[in-house]
Symmetry: C2
Subunit: 337 residues, 2 copies
Amino acid sequence: MSDATDSRQPRKLTMQDVARAAGVSPMTVSNCFRYPERVQEKTKSQVMKVAAELGYVPNLSAGLLAAGSSRVIGAVLPSMRNSSFYRYTVGLREAAAERGYAVITMIAETPAEELAAAQTLLGLRVAGLALIAGPHARELKRLVELSGTPVVEAWAGEDAIGRGVSYDVGGASSALTRHLIAQGRRRIGFVDVAGGGGMRYSMRLPAFRREMFAAGLADDLVMTVRAADGFGAGAQIIDDFLARDRRIDAVLCPTDVVAAGAIFECNRRGLSVPGGIAVAGWGDYDIGRQITPTLTTVAPFSDAIGRGAVSILLGDEAQRRGAPLLTAFNILPREST
Amino acid sequence: MSDATDSRQPRKLTMQDVARAAGVSPMTVSNCFRYPERVQEKTKSQVMKVAAELGYVPNLSAGLLAAGSSRVIGAVLPSMRNSSFYRYTVGLREAAAERGYAVITMIAETPAEELAAAQTLLGLRVAGLALIAGPHARELKRLVELSGTPVVEAWAGEDAIGRGVSYDVGGASSALTRHLIAQGRRRIGFVDVAGGGGMRYSMRLPAFRREMFAAGLADDLVMTVRAADGFGAGAQIIDDFLARDRRIDAVLCPTDVVAAGAIFECNRRGLSVPGGIAVAGWGDYDIGRQITPTLTTVAPFSDAIGRGAVSILLGDEAQRRGAPLLTAFNILPREST
DNA sequence: TCCTAGAATTGTAGCGCTACAATAAAATGT
DNA sequence: ACATTTTATTGTAGCGCTACAATTCTAGGA
């Protein structure tokens, strides 16, 4: 409690102070900030000048309490360990800013942290909540739905909390698998991710299997990693695949980071990429363009996912229901395959 | 305005509702959440059970308005393009959570965006504001100081907004330069960063120069990059340094990402690292441990910087003044030098 | 059984802003 | 010049919670 006391502002500046200094009523100050078109230009200039001189910052909490609405969107991210969600957040921020909203972000690396983050953001009465597909605490869905706050789950499909926004993950997996087959690859390893990241990962393996089956190829070379955000997993799966089948000629990785790790491991083993084994990544991270060989990858339009999320959150009620909003993706063939 | 209307909660649940359902007064509900030790166990269990069943989430905005204090710290990050600030945010979150606070983050890639983010966070009346050293909008310092909100600037020194939290950047630069010299390097290139990132970068070059002077070596091989978060800069500086002096035998880079980019470029040119040219990075990113050769780097204790920031923000008034809080760093010699 | 002290619960006013309504001032029409 | 309409400004009550105060309840002692 004493901690809370210490954060009390030493000098509280309110609309009353600005009003007194500008010779108008507090309501006029409020209207200058909230409904500027209702105030005469001369009056408004005077008020805003005084406000700036005093360093007045409107209290958003009081504003949202009185107005019953907020201009802030809350986003929960599972990781910022690498650039997985960089473009997504760019899309969120730009789309929100275009509508006069701000985005506040909380990082949550476990389902329990995600639940706590959601509670904080709901407590701040954000205008909308943007989640990312992944394992959720059991109570999250209920909590969010009972709150009545608009919610989207990016990278999620039909089973999303709120509405899903994603791209055709299965379609991308199919296309990438077909690309490897078209390159002449016949013993293709698939790297799955344990614990689920929701549709980010779960739709990929079935699609891979369908394409392998359709091409009359075996689909048995599947390895699972615990997390998809570290280079180390890439090194490990090269070890594991080669122990399983020395004839393996391609690996399809869950992210560009894992793929880069796999390529580094191949380099360390003197294994030629793509001559001896092709490596494909996912996500079109920066690193994929810089390593040698440059990395073949799936490029989701992550910024479009972010924009789509905002348009759902701030759109009308009907937009918050229905089938997942799907955005585009590209297969980017590069040197590694 | 119609946008704001649509974000109105369809069903508002307040302490009144919980109180009615639990057969107590709203003040008792408030005390259960705020001062649980003031409520009898039997009463508290009943109230919390009802609250959970109803899906009640306390309105933090109303709470902070009434209490005059917040349990939320605001952090502004300049980038999440790579893992620069990952460990820093871990330190922030952990230290805040230990004291019952949450951290909300805003990403701001330009000084104007940083100013807007600071305004939003001040408007939310966060308990404290954690900035990161870099070019700031001119009005930022005044705005933050007038607000009376506790503020720290991580990676900043004596000229910090609020108090600085950092490590001895000059000391690290000296130590890394001495390491290269001790390895027998004599033509050492230094990569500076344009536009400043505050003390994150500005203390490095003078320290480099002092060490080179003290060793009787030339300090003329200095290149400047616009940003330190992309691999491409690393490739470019290898080009540029070799055009300047083919005898160059080491490069000291501003981040591990730039250093990795430089190593990739040396690989592409068939230039041996460290046989032909040593490469040192900065920041101990994941990638430094994965590439071949593994990367020599400076490891700041970024999580300690985050923890230090929180202890200042939530500490007493005296802790918010004074010399920058300095944390440790390590030089991590690896294969690249 | 009555009194006192401490614990538990509840009451009151207000935090800073704003939706909606009321009033005042300015502009337009006869 | 006066009446009416439109524009600009201001007044009121309340958003959901809580600091502080007041009241009620419970337990222990005389």
